[in-house]
Each structure stands twice: as C-alpha cells, then as structure tokens.
Amino acid sequence: MATRAPRKALEAVPAPVTGARLVVEALEREGVRHLFGYPGGAIMPVYDALPGSKLQHILVRHEQGAALAADAYGRVTGQPGVCIATSGPGATNLVTGIANAFLDSVPLVAITGQVATPLIGTDAFQEVDIFGITLPIVKHSFVIRRTEDIPQVFADAFRIARSGRPGPVLIDLPKDMGVKAVVPAEIRPHVEAVEAPEAALIAEANALIAEARAPILYFGGGIAIARAERALRAFAARAGIPSVATLKGLGGIPTDDAAFLGMLGMHGMRAANIAIDNCDLLICIGARFDDRATGKADTFAPNARIIHLDGDAAEIGKLRRADVGIAGDIVQAMDLLTAIPRCAAWRDQCLRQKAMWAMDYDAPGNGVYAPALLKTLSEAAPDNTIFTCDVGQHQMWVAQHCRFSRPQAHLTSAGLGTMGYGIPAGIGALLADPSATVITVSGDGSIMMNIQELATIRRYRLPLKIVLLDNAQLGMVRQWQELFFDRNFSEIDLSDNPDFAEVARAFGIEAFTIDHRSEVAGAVARLLGTNGPILCHVRIDPRENVWPLVPPNSSNVEMMEKAR
C-alpha cells in the first residue's frame, strides 16, 4: 500500500505539452476543420505540429489569399474562419484580409508567428509589430506571453470572434511560446449574457408601426450575422411592408419576392431609393446608414421616423438619430413587432414604381451585355449557388442582376471593397460548403490581384466556376473619370493584360473565351455542366457603365440613368 500512493500521485500530473501542440488542440477543440495559411520561420513550430492532426491546412500562394478565403469561410459557416502566417511579411500580407473581415463584421481568427520573446522590440529579422499594426482593424487581439495561456487565449479568441457583432481576432505567437512545453492552465468557462429587448421600446416601435401609412424595411448585413432571415421574412409578410436591402443584406428576403424593391443607394434600384425618399417610417434592421446606401445623409428618408434594430448598440444613433432604438437580439425583437400598419395603398404604389423602373436588358450590338449574361447565369444556376465577386463594375452588376435566396449566397467585399476578394472567397466558400455551386465573378483588374490562387484551386481540385468580365480597363474608375472627372482618363488602361484563358490553362484549369452574345447560352451551359474548375473569359464593351447611379454628394433620388 505504501508504495502505491506516490505512483498514483505521479500519474495524476499531466504531461507537459508544447505550445504548438496546444495551438493545434485548441483549434481542434473549436471544431476547426480547415485553416488557410503559408509557413515560414517564426510559425514553424505550429506547422511541425500539424501533421497527424484533424486539421486540413490549405496552402495558399499568398497570405492575402489565406485571410480572404478564411473570411468567406466565416461568412458561409457563421463560425470563425482561420488563417495562419509567419511573422513579418507573412503577417503584413494578412492585413488586407483582416481589415476586410473587420469592415464586414466577419468572424475570423488570424494566427501570426512572431520572433522569439527575447527578440521582440529589437528589430529582429522578420519582426513587425503586427499587434500594433492591426489594432484599428481587429475586434480584439492577443500576444501570447505564457505558453500555459494558449488554451484560454484561443477559447477567448473564438468566442469573441463569433459573439455579438462578429469580427476578426488576432493571436500573435512568439516562436519560443510554441516550442516550450508546459502543463496548460485550465480553461475558465464563459457565460454569455443575452439581453431580451426592452418591453417599453418594443411597445413604442409597435405604436409607430401601427400609425405608419408608408413604412419601409431597410435591412443589411446584420440579418446574415444573426441568421435572422426567418424572423425578417415573417415580419415583412405579417406587416405587409415593402423592403429594400443594402449590398450586404441582399438575400435576407429573396430578391425575387414581390414586395422586395431591390438594393438601395448608389447603384441601387430607383424604386428602392424613391420608396425611402417618400416613406413615413423607416425600419432599419441590421444596417448602419452607410454613405454608399444613404447618399447625402441629410436627404435620406427626409420625412421618416426611424426604428433602428441592431445587434450592436454602438450603431444606434451613430449616423442618424433613431426615434426608437433597440439594441440586442434582432430575431427576438422582430418577432415582437406584431403591429400591422394600414399601408396597402403605399405598397401598391411601391410595386408600381418597381415595375416602372425594372431593369432593361436590351442593349445594342452583338457583344456580350454583362448584366444580361449574369441574369441568365443566375437564373440557370441551382438554388444552392454562392456567388463571390471582386470589386468594380462587375461587383455592382452581380448585386443588381443575380438572384439571391439567402444572404450567404452573395459573398462580396462591401465595406473595404477589396479587389482580389473573388477567387480566395470562392475557395473559402467551396471548402465551407462543398455541396454548393460556387461562381466567382471577377474583373480583369481584380483577378490579377490574387491570380496566383488559381494554383490553390488546381491543387485541391476545387470546382470553382470563374466568370471573368474583361473590359480591358479598370472599368469602375474609368466610369467615374468619364462622369465626374471630365473624361480625363488616367491610368485605367489594361489592354496589355495577358490572355486569361491561356493563363488559366497554364495553371491547369479548363478555360474558354467568348465575345459574342450568341455564345452566352452555350457558355452558361458549359460553366454549369463542368465538374471541375473552369474559367469563362468574357470580352465585354469597355464603354459600358453601371446604371443607375447616384452621383457623389447627391441625394439618392438624383439618380443618373442609362440613356434609353
């Protein structure tokens, strides 16, 4: 008996584990299946611990691709996407993707290697203060100072990234912290407090709704964040209120719903902007009065009372005073908004405007008209399709002409407007939801920003369908120079771009080119019928513009239209 007791005590002491292994275990504990990254010196201990784990590492060809793919992964799954890079240039290459996730409130965890603790602050090889660099673009960030803390820091990072208004969290891991073996500290449980909406505010909101004769629902990215589509659709249908969406809100209510008036704002539908201009009650749900949506702020919904529902209390009253502001769980709040306005006449008026200002797909000539192509493609694509896009005219055409039946079907860099988002986002979306048909719509400027990720598509045999709308120009910049800078065209010519179909083939990806509208039906069938990755290079008229358009510093009703 006397000899057994000490052995038992010895067995009870857990064996020390390296920091790198603790990182891998923490990721497994969080249910992470994929992480997007690129190795290098300071992060090598973590890469050493990856083989044999449950994690599939996706080796991108540039760290920006890793961060943007993780962003899309986060948008589709609602759980933090994870990217990982080494210190110095690896970390700085993640910055655009982190900012992208920050501005669009996407759950993301970015792990960066750092030089060993004794070298921090000595300008060591590949040392940058990534913690400092990213302070304004993260929801939170950590530097690992004790290996023992790794499990707790990772648990906190994932919780913070996904909770409330989601966002990116950075974990900077000095090399020695990953090498050292320790017995980790226990993880403290965290209890999330969910506040029910205040009954008095709900009553006030219901009173405003009951009084309204011309109400509009204006919803944004907060619907996707709160997975609030059911509540939004039920509220809109119950109250009979027409709706408009921001770029990020598209799909919250299916875009083909009869009482959905379209996207509002700079490239929105005229009927949507007119409705906002004339409404007497604006019910803003999960949107933030962003300048791209409101145009000149003091002319936005000039005669309306405002009800503002948002998951983030800091958004309420930030840019527009709310008559009733309800912060917290927007699903609960919407379910409690049961008042019914008497607005049948107004609704009819909105629907008449919608019909009157419907998009026109007639275009002169035989060239491919991009809006018509996107409409045809989106109508032919299955319901589980996810569109990802880059930034520019093609991005606005996707928003205007594709149909979306859920917000996760449209992955777009709305807040940051990151050229180069499209292909990495396509990669992230396919890994997050392998059953989805994923289509990336890109421009000939944007695609070059992350073209190297064609190699990633090829390596993992990801069946991404890429539609490249090639106007041989930075089209959106050209449009602004034409309209607002006296046609002083400056640095927008891309006519020396490579042959993109050849480029794709060089990466081992099937590709073809079209330039005539008679080829569109065949191209759509080929794109949708191909099992592997494929790129359709579409030459379009370089003079085409995105219409309608609200000029800068103008009211949303001062829209410029295409000459009919």
Binding site: G132, L135, P136, H140, F142, V143, I160, D312, A314, G317
Partner: protein
C-alpha cells in the same frame, strides 16, 4: 463638442492604445489624459474636443464599451448649455 470620457478597464496588453486609438479615430482630439492601473484594473480619464460637429460623446462611449477590456464608460459634456 468638448467633454470628459472616463473609462474603467481591465489592464490587458494593448488596452490603453486601443482606447486612445478609438477615441482619436472616431473624431476626437485628446487634450488631457490621466491614467492609473494596478492589480489588473485601470482607469483612464480623457478631456476631448470633437473635430467636427457630427461627433457625439454618447456614440464614442458606446464604441468604447464594445472593447473587450472596457468595464464602464461615463461621459460629461463641457459644452455650454449641455446637461
């Protein structure tokens, strides 16, 4: 708009930089700053002036409350006529 922002916070790495950065980025100039931290808790007091009339102390207070380390924020306006 001018006024004072007082914050109680958990003294974690980067907390002060985060708070100061937020206040400056969101349109306020800091003219006086006092700070103390011990035993894991800190307090920060900032006298601020808004860069333009569109800035509100109330909004910046709510933005500060979103920071993970921030426990409590109070503001007082020093503008004439303000309550």
């Amino acid at each position: 708009m001018s006024g004072r922002i007082q914050v109680d916070f958990d003294a974690a790495e980067g907390a002060v930089l985060r708070m100061l950065g937020l206040v400056e980025r969101r349109g306020f100039v800091v003219s006086v700053m006092t700070m103390a931290a011990r035993e894991g808790r800190g307090s920060l007091s900032l006298d601020v002036d808004a860069r333009d009339p569109g800035r509100s102390l109330d909004v910046v207070a709510r933005q500060l409350r979103r920071l993970q380390e921030v426990r409590n924020v109070s503001t007082s306006s020093s503008d004439r006529g303000a309550s």
